[in-house]
């Protein structure tokens, strides 16, 4: 059963790419991509449920469906669906109608690579899947072909390729670690690595893990390796910003999470966890500083992604059932909430014709409904109740106390308050300061652009008020599968 689901999950975007390339028509591309995203979403939900019955291995152990991987797939599926709906309305405003079929082909291809990375059971192939996500998404980042977009695309591919080559070095060194235990040739699956971990050389294992952490950490956007993130997120079309933030970052975090039990087995748990926690706190510091003084609306959202990936890193760094549960829950809530924020930012940007916060005034009068949704999202993304992120951040902070990282919990709480004030201050000026140049010529924002905002906000409120027991059980089981003792 999970095998069929997995096949459907991967085939849907792959077929969408083929269809887009064959038909070469924009409207057809929109429909095909939307259909693929609906199928992916349905399959992802089913896969999460199916994954609860234990991990399944396919294709001679090269592919695995486990709980953490399925969860990342679910986050990807959610964002893909929302972004596909949004892109139908949004991309028509970009004015590149003739080339849009390329966009949709790349879009589904990008999703395919993310989904692929989440099911790779071999550390080397996982690396390649992550590399592929970069190559495909570079062209999405530079899709609008302006000087800024191309600059962002170039910086993106150079920084990520350099960073990820460190992860390759770490992967090779881990293979070398394992070869002392398992002999020169073996399949480098996550399970074999974990089994070999207790006999690995601790010094070499630490070096490898640190390289992995910096390498994949670049892709996750952990500070100080985050420098590509604000450029890429702010210059790509809004649906792609949502995909980068809500789907791609999680898929790279998965790599770090899968190596954690290995290094834990190699008697280096403390070092690995403390480094991850430190990266998390530094990301929060950088996020807070740049959010407070930010001038670009999408860069504001991008730095908020740096912040939230920092929080997820804290969750996994703290570990334990609470930490892992909080981090996984945070991933989904962040995917939903950040999509909402990028959709709103994209709509506003197109309407005002500017990316600068100071040009955006009087949102309230121009967008009574969509503006309200966006403001609710802003309250949610800063971690205020009654939205999902509040609950998951609270759980992660509790995990910090429980696992003896009180210092970082205090620092995090302080930084979250700074971010709350800084972030909402920008929204205050955008909503409550008078519109200096009320122009009527702004392009109308279609329903396609507003509908996904509703779809993102509704589950956020539900998750903020009620954490389903089934989800909690799922997270605890995932934490156990990751080897964190209760």
């Amino acid at each position: 059963m999970p095998g069929t689901l997995l096949l459907i999950l991967l085939l849907a975007p792959a077929l969408a790419v083929v269809a887009c390339l064959l038909v070469r028509a924009t409207r057809a591309g929109e429909i095909v991509n939307l259909l693929a995203s609906i199928v992916v979403f349905a399959a992802a939900v089913a896969l999460v449920i199916a994954s609860a019955y234990g991990p399944r291995h396919y294709l001679a152990d090269y592919v695995v469906v486990d709980m953490t991987g399925a969860w990342v797939i679910l986050c990807t599926g959610v964002v893909y669906l929302l972004a596909s709906i949004h892109s139908i309305g949004y991309m028509r405003l970009v004015g590149e109608d003739a080339r849009l079929w390329i966009f949709y082909a790349l879009f589904s291809g990008f999703t395919f690579t993310i989904l692929l990375s989440a099911v790779m059971n071999n550390a080397g192939l996982y690396w390649i899947a992550i590399e592929l996500t970069t190559l495909v998404s570079t062209f999405l980042v530079g899709f609008e072909r302006g000087a800024e977009s191309i600059e962002a695309a170039w910086k993106y591919i150079i920084i990520i390729s350099a960073g990820i080559s460190l992860a390759l070095l770490g992967t090779i060194l881990f293979y070398w670690c394992g070869s002392f235990v398992l002999g020169p040739t073996y399949q480098m699956t996550w399970d074999t690595l974990r089994a070999a971990a207790p006999k690995m050389n601790p010094a070499l294992a630490s070096l490898s893990f640190l390289l992995i952490l910096v390498g994949y950490g670049t892709k996750v956007g952990l500070a100080p390796m985050h420098t590509w993130l604000p450029d890429a997120h702010s210059e790509s079309p809004a649906p792609i910003s949502a995909m980068l933030s809500g789907a791609l970052l999680n898929s790279a975090m998965l790599g770090i999470v899968r190596y954690l039990p290995v290094v834990q087995g190699a008697q280096n748990e403390r070092l690995a966890r403390e480094t991850l926690v430190a990266f998390g706190v530094v990301s929060l510091v950088v996020g807070a500083l740049f959010i407070v003084r930010q001038r670009g609306i999408k860069r504001l959202m991008a730095y908020s992604s740096v912040e939230h990936m920092g929080v997820v890193a804290l969750g996994f760094g703290f570990g334990g059932p609470l930490g892992v549960a909080g981090a996984l829950y945070h991933m989904l809530n962040h995917s939903l909430n950040k999509s909402l924020m990028f959709f709103g930012a994209g709509n506003v940007m197109r309407s005002y014709g500017s990316k600068e916060i100071r040009d955006i005034r009087g949102v309230w009068t121009r967008f009574p409904v969509a503006g309200a949704l966006w403001l609710a999202g802003a309250v949610g993304i800063t971690g205020a109740p009654p939205f999902g992120l509040f609950l998951s951040e609270l759980v992660i902070l509790r995990a910090g106390f429980e696992r003896g990282y009180a210092w970082s919990v205090y620092a995090t709480a302080l930084l979250l308050i700074v971010i709350f004030i800084g972030f909402l201050n920008h929204f205050r000026s955008m909503y409550f300061e008078a519109d200096a140049t009320p122009n009527a010529a702004a392009p109308a924002i279609s329903r396609w652009c507003v509908a996904p905002m509703w779809l993102a906000l509704a589950p956020l409120v539900v998750f903020g008020l009620w954490w389903p027991d089934a989800l909690w059980d799922h997270f605890v089981a995932a934490a156990q599968a990751l080897g964190t003792a209760p």
């Binding site: 080397g124 600059e151 350099a162």
Partner: protein, 226 residues
């Protein structure tokens, strides 16, 4: 491969090839002409191909002959050809505004080799294999990594940055041949193909840079800040 019990001839061939590739990385650091970068890179790739074949022969890994052949073809011929096409399309032949003089870059490169040696020596000691090919391989792997990063930071032409990334990859690949010669062939082949795709993507992006930014120097990529 039990690298610890190599016969002396094999050990010296391995060391020679590895050190020669490191020196070629220094050639890149010391030059400011894009063409020289390209030749040095191609030479380095051939060294690595030879190394793969030698490790295959002395270590008893016949599948490495295939890897050697593919390395020579892809890294030694196809990649340099792709890069040569990119160079031809550009109207720059050399780095014009150096961020760091080639001479200072060489000193920094030497310092990074020493740093790599210290790290590898400690790792080798903790593994109980200090003072042989393993330490050398690890040193060169880390040193080429640092040199690649040095090229990425100290040079600003788009092409130098591409080659900097390729040096990073070469270093890893070289080290992998010596440290983990038994690595599954599938992975190595996929990584080789992946490199081709990467360079093809870079080629397209360079064209976009010329067309839409009007410059291939990272010094002119200064619109996005903050």
């Amino acid at each position: 491969m039990p690298v610890a019990q190599l016969d002396p001839l094999a050990a010296s061939i391995f060391s020679f090839l590895a050190i020669a590739s490191l020196l070629l990385a220094f050639v890149m650091l010391g030059s400011r002409w894009l063409n020289n970068y390209l030749y040095a890179f191609a030479g380095e790739s051939w060294m690595i191909a030879a190394l793969s074949a030698m490790v295959g022969y002395y270590g008893g890994f016949p599948e490495l002959y295939l890897i050697a052949l593919l390395t020579a073809l892809f890294r030694g011929l196809l990649l340099p050809y792709l890069i040569w096409r990119i160079i031809k399309r550009l109207d720059v032949a050399r780095e014009i505004h150096e961020i760091l003089e080639p001479s200072s870059t060489l000193v920094a490169g030497a310092a990074s080799v020493i740093f790599a040696l210290i790290v590898s020596y400690h790792i080798g000691e903790s593994l109980g294999v200090s003072g042989n090919v393993v330490v050398l391989a690890l040193t060169i792997m880390l040193a080429m990594k640092l040199i690649g990063f040095l090229m990425l930071t100290a040079r600003h032409e788009a092409l130098s940055q591409i080659l900097g990334l390729l040096v990073l990859e070469n270093g890893i690949f070289l080290g992998a041949q010596l440290l983990v010669p038994g690595m599954p062939t599938l992975i190595e082949i996929v990584i080789l193909f992946d490199l081709l795709v990467v360079v093809a993507c870079f080629g397209v992006l360079v064209r976009y840079l010329v067309a839409h930014v009007g410059s291939t120097s990272s010094l002119d990529l200064n619109r996005l800040v903050g």
